[in-house]
């Protein structure tokens, strides 16, 4: 059994339909993607870099796909309010896999160009031409995404433009039938450009199986600045396989922050390539998982130039029977002096059944660098718990305060004030059980009607 087979068959049977609904630049990649998938297999649990994660099982079910580009009923922006409200009026919603701009999105883009790939194909073809320039087909899930992608969102920040308002993209699953969404984002920042983006993944239909295949490409020009926050609040039946690529030119500053508060199965890959000197990379991650949630993170930061800094910190709090995994590699190539690269992965297992798998790696081919990695897996500090209890704080409340405290530094690393405050609040809700899963957060989600 090879789960890829059904997707390849689906593509071969429907190639005309898929290509008819897609811009040419997407179609131009499909042959290479198909070739890469020939004979490929999705990793099974236990294979290299998939010690705890079975992708074959995730892709095996027969999810439906929206090949004919049906615009799903209802105005998503009207029916849904995200957990991070009032942050931006430059709001786009991806309703299953169809992108809809919010009411004032265009007006509030502030010099940024935000377009669907279809719009960009005619308005900014020269920018859209960079689609697929970072994605690598050695990962079959990326090849599969490229094989099937029909649209996506282009964020283009022209030279020197500083977009004041953050851009928000809300991905929503809401159908009565199982669905696979193929989502794609391309971010192009020209030299000196600056922008911030928040992506929120939500699932409204809690009893339906979903698979979201996401590939994000971020091309950061010289001295550009870009923040990308990726917040998942989905359901136990939502499966997400995401790969974020970033390529940084000289002097650029990129922050990528992956946050998982509620989910089912999540595999997040981060591939950052630093090509120019004086570039700075911040990679942050925070996972709170309970029940049987599964969150697997895989990171690779490649330093191809000297005098760069990268800082990476992923934190997990696992309860119940949750499984977490982290594998992170820092690669410093030959001839990259005075790179500073730090990686940390700190984990709390709050229940005896929770499992954390972690694998830090450094691969260094230049002498004159500073690099370190540190990994810890532990339980809550028993002395701190006792101290708090002697002050009258119940054990449950003390545990909650300690877990929240554990996350505070990664939350404080968020450079968007509104989001940072909101995250403190959401994480508090998550720990006191009022955000146990998206199904119980109706109050926060405010699904109308």
């Amino acid at each position: 059994m090879n789960a890829l087979r059904q997707y390849i068959d689906l593509f071969n049977d429907n190639r005309k339909v898929i290509e008819a609904g897609s811009p040419a630049v997407l179609n131009a990649q499909r042959d290479a993607a198909l070739a890469a998938l020939h004979g490929a297999r999705l990793p099974r649990k236990g294979s290299e870099d998939y010690e705890a994660t079975d992708l074959e099982a995730v892709f095996a079910p027969d999810y439906g796909m929206n090949l004919t580009r049906i615009a799903f009923g209802g105005d998503a922006t009207e029916s849904f309010r995200c957990d991070v409200p009032n942050m931006s009026t430059c709001l786009y919603t991806c309703f299953n896999d169809v992108i809809v701009p919010g009411p004032n999105a265009m007006r509030n883009a502030g010099g940024m160009v935000v377009e669907t790939f279809k719009e960009a194909a005619t308005r900014h073809p020269e920018v859209l031409a960079r689609y697929g320039s970072l994605a690598q087909f050695d990962d079959p899930t990326v090849a599969l995404n490229t094989l099937l992608a029909q649209d996506g969102l282009l964020v283009y920040v022209p030279r020197g433009v500083v977009a004041e308002r953050p851009l928000q993209l809300v991905n929503i699953f809401n159908t009565t039938q199982p669905l696979m969404a193929v989502r794609r984002v391309l971010v192009v920042l020209e030299d000196g450009a600056s922008a911030r983006m928040l992506v929120c993944d939500h699932t409204q239909s809690k009893d339906v199986n979903f698979l979201s295949s996401q590939v994000v490409e971020i091309i950061a020009g010289e001295d550009s600045t870009f923040d990308y926050y990726d917040l998942e609040e989905s359901t136990p039946l939502t499966h997400r396989v995401s790969t974020i690529y970033a390529r940084q030119a000289r002097g650029s500053n990129v922050l990528i922050d992956g946050i998982t508060l509620t989910n089912g199965f999540t595999r997040n890959n981060y591939r950052v390539t630093v090509d120019g000197e004086h570039a700075e990379t911040t990679l942050l991650g925070m996972t709170v998982a309970g029940d049987e949630q599964h969150v697997d993170t895989h990171t690779l930061i490649s330093h191809n130039a000297g005098l760069c800094r990268s800082n990476e910190m992923f934190k997990y709090v696992l309860g119940d029977k949750a499984v977490g995994a982290f594998a992170g590699k820092i690669l410093i190539k030959e001839g990259c002096p005075r790179v500073e690269a730090y990686q940390g992965n700190r984990n709390l297992c709050a229940s005896p059944q929770a499992r954390m798998y972690t694998k830090p790696q450094l691969e260094i081919y230049t002498d004159d660098v500073k690099a370190s990695h540190g990994t810890t897996i532990g339980q809550l500090d028993q002395e701190a718990l006792y101290y708090m209890r002697t002050r009258g704080i119940s054990e449950a409340e003390a545990q909650r305060l300690l877990m929240q405290a554990f996350m505070s530094d990664v939350i404080d690393g968020v450079r968007l004030d509104v989001l940072r405050d909101r995250l403190h609040y959401l994480v508090e809700k998550r720990f006191n059980g009022t955000l146990a899963s998206c199904s119980s957060c109706a109050e926060a989600c405010m699904v109308k009607g």
Partner: protein, 251 residues
């Protein structure tokens, strides 16, 4: 207020307390002294309910209740307070959130509504003054980066906030310079009333110059082997513990 009868306790299978008897009444100050390893800190940890210690015999009543049957948090609600010898640093938990949780859980225990934000901050301000605790410390994480003296002042600040019936000060004088000692001691004295009581655990007479005990007890080998008035502390300061050790070991 507190009656300890023939209390035995052990940690990791090793018996530390071997039959402690002690009665404390409202308004009293008791000093417990004794050589290293005699069980002084064990006694305070057993009374507050440290999970690492096992009570193997005896009983303790506090305000008429079976203290040993209560969880550490309920012991606190009932009015027991321990000023730690080594206050614990809790990175990421601010003093404000920590104290608010403590105060409001106590109020909940007694069926009261949580304190409003402004009332709470007012209370913090008022109590902070008792131990001259800087506002900056109150906004930082619990004990994190506090100096030795600041940690101990922070303990007395928490005591002031929680208004316990019985406070146990476990070597509150250790690590304090003269000025800090005076501030801490005057804080304790300010909080003293006819309705509450204090147990001072210390190695030295020094602290007892500031916090005057009504009774002085010597704990040795897990038992209180001698009890007398404040003059005993002076005698110990002068002669050390050897004469008591010799006396007990010969028995």
């Amino acid at each position: 207020m507190l009656q300890i009868k023939d209390l035995h306790a052990s940690i990791e299978g090793k018996e530390i307390l071997k039959g402690v008897n002690l009665t404390v009444n409202p308004g009293e100050v008791h000093a417990i002294m004794g050589p290293n390893g005699s069980g002084k800190s064990t006694l305070s940890n057993v009374l507050t309910g440290h999970p690492a210690y096992t009570v193997t015999g005896g009983e303790v009543t506090f305000g008429g209740k079976d203290l040993l049957a209560l969880s550490p948090e309920d012991r606190a609600h009932e009015g027991l307070f321990l000023s730690f010898q080594y206050p614990v640093e809790i990175p990421g938990v601010s003093m404000v959130n920590f104290m608010r949780a403590a105060i409001n859980e106590k109020r909940k225990y007694f069926g009261q509504d949580p304190l409003s934000a402004s009332d709470f901050l007012k209370l913090m301000r008022e109590k902070r003054a008792i131990v001259e605790l800087d506002n900056k410390l109150a906004s930082r994480a619990v004990n994190e980066g506090f100096s030795g003296g600041e940690k101990k002042r922070n303990e007395i600040f928490q005591m002031a906030m929680l208004e316990p019936k019985l406070s146990i000060l476990d070597e509150t004088d250790s690590g304090l310079d003269i000025d800090a000692l005076r501030i801490v001691a005057s804080g304790v004295n300010t909080l003293k009333s006819e309705d509450n009581a204090t147990i001072v655990i210390t190695h030295y007479q020094r602290l007892l110059d500031y916090i005057k005990p009504d009774f002085v007890h010597v704990l040795y080998k897990g038992r209180i082997v001698m009890s007398a008035g404040p003059e005993l502390a002076l005698e110990l300061e002068e002669k050390g513990y050897d004469w008591i050790k010799a006396q007990i070991d010969n028995e």
